[in-house]
Every structure is written in C-alpha cells, then in structure tokens.
Symmetry: C2
Subunit: 198 residues, 2 copies
C-alpha cells in the first residue's frame, strides 16, 4: 500500500527555513546552503537519499514553499523551480484562495487546495496511484500532517548548523514515539528515517 | 591539549528533560527511558559512545542535574547516583548558594561553584589535568557553554521520540556553523559528533 512520506532538511536546532522570505530569498535570511549542500554539492555521497525524495507519485506543499507572495495570488508566479520543476508529478499546494491549475513542463502540475490537509491528501493519493505521496514541506505543513498522525515515514536530514530562528520542525506536534528505521551519516548531513509507533 | 566535550541525549525535537522534576522524577514527567534506553538496554551496541562519556577527568553540571531541591540546599541530598556515582572524578556543580564539598565513594567529589561558568571551567580544567573536561548537562548548562563558545566537541545522541516540552538543547544559542565529525546510528539512537567551525 502506498505510504505518506516526508523528507525535510533541518539544522541541528530543527529549523528548515529562516525568517524574512522574499522572491530572492526562498529560505529567508539564513545561510540556507548549509541545509542543502549535501544534495547539491555532494550528490554522489547521498545518492540514495536524493533519489528517494523524487520517488513519490504526488507531492503536497504549503503555500510558502510554492511562493513568496501572500494574500491574493501573484498569477505570474509559477514556483521557484523554473519551467521544469523536479517533481514530474502533480503537486498539491495548500492555500486559502482558489487558483487555476498551473501546468509545467515535464509532468508537474500545481493544483491549489483550499479545503484543508485531509482533502489535499485524498486528492494526492488519488493522483499518486500505486506510488507514495510525499509531504514536500515546509515545516509548518509537515507539522500539520505529523500532528494529524498522517505521516508513515519521516526522513529527517540533519545538517551541522545552528540557526536559532525560523520555521521549526515539530513545533506544535504532540508527544509521540517513533521507531528509528535507519540512520546514516555522510560528510555534510545525517539522514534518519523514522516511522511512528502506532 | 585537553578539550571541553559534551554528551547529551535528546528527543527528535531537542529536549533532554521534561518539566516537573521531583525527587522521584529526575527527568520530569516524560518517558525518559526513551532518552536513555540506548545506554542501559543496548550497551553492547553503543559501547564506544558510552565509554567516551566516562573518559573525562572532570565534569560540570547544572544544579538541577545534581538534585531536585531548589533554593536552600537540602544537605541530605547527595545526587541521584547512590554512594558511588559513575563519574569517578571531580564534578563541579553550578550553583547560586555555597555548599561544602560532598565526597563520594569511588573518586567522585561534588564541588559547588557560585561564580559562574567560566570559573567552573577553570577549576574543572585544573582538576582534569591532561584529560578532557565534560559538560554533563542539563540542556540549560550545555546551552550556556555553547553560547560562550567554550565547547570543543558536542556529541548529541538523538532518540526516536517527540516530547513537545521541557529543557531544550540549543535554546538561546546564537547561530553558528559546525563540522559533522562523525555520525552513527544503532537501533535506538543516532550519535552525531560536532565541532564548531572557528
């Protein structure tokens, strides 16, 4: 049965983004390269983990992961990823305002879901078919799915930096126990896979 | 040259203790076994990491790690560890009130330091000689030494649970970069060793 997975890169203190997001600063005013250098600077060391991120059949993300605009949609904005986003599958964006689908090259289409995380998951499951659904981020979206007990496999990528402020993984998530399924360190990151004890 | 090391077990969300510490509940009202089962239930899997904790020549801890009393000393209280604590070396307890040394069996003596973290470190260095000084905890004490840039090697032991509240590692520690020196997972924990980038 397809699962709900989630990959998220965090600092030692659990932040996945800083404050002050703008069009030029998708992660706000932090040294965000420290969160993602393991992917982009050392892909050969982390091949399996990078591949796993892209194995899902549908993705769910928060509006702030989709774009820097707030309030009414900036209809010229089509995501941070250029003409051909790396998802190659449907992406469901949690939003408060309706917006028409945004089809991109390479199989990614952004759909906008205004009726909550459960509805988004239902649509993503239907779109993913036999493949997993991935919660793509940011932390606030991940935390909502964790709090609702809807994540089957959480893959945290811990990077060697303290940020001290920003969007924090696990904020507002109630106490719960996990099983540590696997754990592996490479030079710039530690990958830990958790499954909830149900 | 001897270093300042620090070992601390934390939950996925960074807590090393809960709230509500009492004589019966040194870690407060959390399932603290989940923080420490790797040491006590699976010592054979984690032999190197357990051994490293006990290699220092002197230890520094906060008052709440020494005991549950607050305000005036409860002079009958001699720590959580019975007659022969596992340290076998001098332990410097950060405190606001003077107290005479408390010598224990096996080489541990508790000394009480009322003039701050730098003074405690100076006394611990002198006592440790050629061996490292270890910051034993809790999180609040570790955070003070991290914030002051005084920790040479931080060994975090991340355990598969979310606590949601309590004493949190890295609270109040300013943004900084580390090098991930090593990372290793066993069945109940991931051990990561960090050194500050200076």
């Amino acid at each position: 049965m397809p699962r709900v997975t989630c990959d998220i890169s965090v600092s030692m203190d659990g932040y996945s983004a800083g404050v002050g997001q703008t069009r030029e600063l998708p992660f706000g005013t932090i040294a965000h390269n420290r969160l993602h250098d393991w992917m982009f600077e050392r892909p050969e060391e982390n091949e399996a983990e990078v591949a796993a991120i892209l194995e899902a059949g549908a993705y769910i993300m928060g509006r702030n992961m989709f774009g820097p605009d707030r309030g009414e949609w900036d209809l010229d904005w089509r995501g941070w990823w250029g003409d051909e986003p790396p998802y190659h599958h449907p992406v469901f964006v949690l939003a408060h305002r309706e917006r028409d689908d945004v089809p991109m090259a390479g199989g990614t289409t952004f759909h906008f879901v205004t009726d909550g995380i459960h509805a988004a998951l239902e649509r993503a499951r239907a779109a993913a078919g036999d493949l997993d659904v991935a919660i793509a981020g940011g932390a606030s979206t991940v935390n909502q799915y964790l709090a609702a007990g809807l994540v089957d496999e959480l893959r945290v990528h811990i990077t060697p930096t303290i940020f001290g402020a920003g969007e924090r993984l696990f904020d507002g998530v109630p106490p719960q126990a996990f099983e540590q399924v696997s754990s592996r360190g490479t030079s710039l990151v530690t990958h830990i896979t958790y499954r909830p004890v149900r």
